[in-house]
Amino acid sequence: MLRRTFNALLISAVVFGTAGGIASAEETLKIGVSAPKTGVQSGGAAAVYWPNVQLWVHDLNQKGGIKVDGKQLKIDLVEYDDKSSPEEAVKNIQRLATVDKVDFIISPYTTGINLATAPLIARYGYPQLVATGNANDLRAFIKQWPNSFWLLGKASDLSTGIVGTLKTLRDKGQVGNKVALAYVAEALGLEMIDSAKPAFKEAGFDIVYETSYPIGTQDLSPVISGAKAAKPDAFVAYSYPPDSFALTEQAQIQAFDVNAFYVGVGGALTGYGQRFGKQAEGILSMGGINPDDQAYKSYRESHKKVTGQDTDYWAGAVVYASLEVLAQAIEKAGKERAAVVKAIKSGTFDTVIGKVSFEDNVVKKLWTVGQWRGGVFQGVNGLSVEGAKEPVKKPAWN
């Protein structure tokens, strides 16, 4: 009995597997995407990556499609799960390029996967607009893969943003010289700490405590009590979403009061503000945006309407902007990939994060630090951004 049921299931799975995928007669623009739907990175991708892909396709098809060589083409999205593994990602990109023969590829999620797939994407000549990854050594990559564009800037741009903010606060006499550092022992944390430490020292800050912790750890009270014992004036953590939450909660419970409290990825999530409510007031985090900007405001609204979830105050908008750049470049240059790469290189694009242009394939205008104020995450530091607010001293936990 059981066996028969399973046989039937197996057969139907195979039948479903081979059937389907019937192409519609209408001419479309085929866009491929491969990113994690499962595995360790799926949490982050579900927050900032997938909803924006969905929204972008929705927005374009809503207005009748994308204009290519005088024709309005609707977007036909082909999506695969890379299971958070470079192995799968390479296979997916190959499949998109040679089996599905997609016109363009949305660049994958995270630094590691973007680097693993870069040689392939370059070989097929697709533009690669990296909105969710960065590194310190970008120049070498761009030399090797001139079709890659980096929207988050260099790792050092991001990691040293907080150094600048702390300097501003120190100049105002709101924060002292002693800094406690913590970072997640993973690509992001290490790239960040590598460039941040010299910057802190150069700015005359005194690092009184420094530690790493393994990725996935949520029992972080030893980190907070260690930092607290060192009596710093500021706490800076280059952390990932689950640990950003855990660090904040622990700091609050242990009444670890510092004048500047900074967490890494995750602090710009709308959920972070909701979770900590009034306690979030004055917390600094990686990322930022000008939340009063009209383009961002309407993007935020339609994100909620179309995907049913709130976008964040940083990476989500950057992902969406990278897609806008792609669409505008295609409208300008047509289906020819090399021409689109060229158009991206030289053009200026109007996006939800303002005007975007590339200088040697790297965006020079980006937000680096934001701060929670009255339930909204306000950008307070960045490279040549408009609308940055003045950072303020964090009030005590209440």
Binding site: L2, P36, K37, T38, G39, V40, S42, G43, A45, A46, A47, W50, A182, A185, T211, S212, Y213, P214, G216, T217, Q218, D219, L220, S221, P222, V223, S225, G226, P241, P242, F245, A246, E249, Q250, Q252, I253, Q254, A255, G266, G271, R275, F276, G277, Q309
Partner: protein, 288 residues
């Protein structure tokens, strides 16, 4: 002192994660790799009850635990009993159950992804300081610890002071002999498996008050539970509890005194040492 208390609280958390698997593996002989998924599913239900209906997670356990009991009993009856019947020896059942529950792991994880998406979830429940000897600790962790102690004492009472509990212990020691003394092995094993599932769900409910979770995190919990179960000695509730506290304390000690980057390395090193020198579990005597 702070290390002791933090470590003990963490140990309590680990005990919650591992007790269910001890029963499932020790008594029902099912190495349930989908154990972590049960835990995460309970986190999700607790989250949903709390955020939609405003049900206190501690009360939520009253709903979640029986539901998990029934569900796990059904899983055992439908999916695992055929494997138990066809297995000729324990080794074969082990391989079969590992494979089958690995399939279940995928299935459950897929269902959760489909329902809740891959995003991170957490909610705020009793996230306030609670002072022990003048040092503040998270109240939700303390509550989870107390509830964990309560649940495991109940389990202990049940196992060592009731007939049904004695039957569970009997099949954990030797299913063949248990049959000779008129114990319905198949039913008792099914019951142990279901009870294990319910315990895991209780653990998940309590954990959800202070952990950030998402649909793909089950495997992490299964790994932790596996380590504790093996360290404690298969089927040994007291051993598993002790192992959980040893792990909690040593992790906290390593994180506070040496380097937080080495906590997980310490866990595995400890585990491997136990396997090498006391493969039968920390409390058991003689060869297993």
């Amino acid at each position: 002192m702070q290390i002791l208390v933090t470590g003990t609280l963490l140990g309590g958390t680990y005990a919650l994660i591992a007790l269910g698997l001890t029963l499932q593996y020790g008594a029902a002989r099912i190495m349930n790799l989908a154990n972590g998924e049960t835990l995460v599913a309970a986190c999700f239900v607790a989250f949903w009850l709390f955020s939609r209906l405003g049900v206190n997670p501690i009360l939520g356990m009253v709903i979640i635990a029986p539901a998990a009991l029934v569900l796990n009993w059904l899983i055992y009856a439908w999916l695992l009993r055929p494997l138990v019947r066809r297995a000729k020896n324990r080794g074969m059942l082990e391989v079969d159950s590992i494979l089958a529950t690995f399939g279940l792991l995928f299935l459950f994880q897929g269902l959760m992804l489909l329902t809740f998406g891959g995003a991170y979830f957490n909610y705020k429940f009793l996230a306030e300081p609670f002072s022990i000897l003048g040092t503040p600790y998270a109240l939700n962790r303390v509550v989870a610890f107390v509830a964990g102690v309560l649940v495991s004492s109940l389990l202990y009472l049940f196992l060592y002071h009731t007939r049904q509990g004695a039957a569970v212990r009997a099949i954990a020691v030797d299913p063949a002999s248990a049959q000779l003394v008129a114990i319905d092995v198949s039913r008792t094993a099914g019951f142990s498996f279901a009870l294990g599932g319910a315990l895991t769900a209780c653990g998940g409910t309590l954990l959800s008050t202070f952990y950030t979770f998402n649909a793909s995190m089950g495997v992490l919990f299964t790994m932790k539970a596996l380590i504790i179960v093996i360290m404690g000695g298969v089927g040994d509730i007291r051993g598993a509890t002790l192992a959980a506290f040893i792990l909690g304390l040593s992790e906290t000690a390593v994180a506070s005194l040496i380097d937080p980057g080495l906590t997980l390395a310490a866990t595995y090193a400890l585990f491997i040492l136990v396997l090498l020198f006391r493969p039968q579990g920390i409390l058991r005597r003689g060869a297993a």
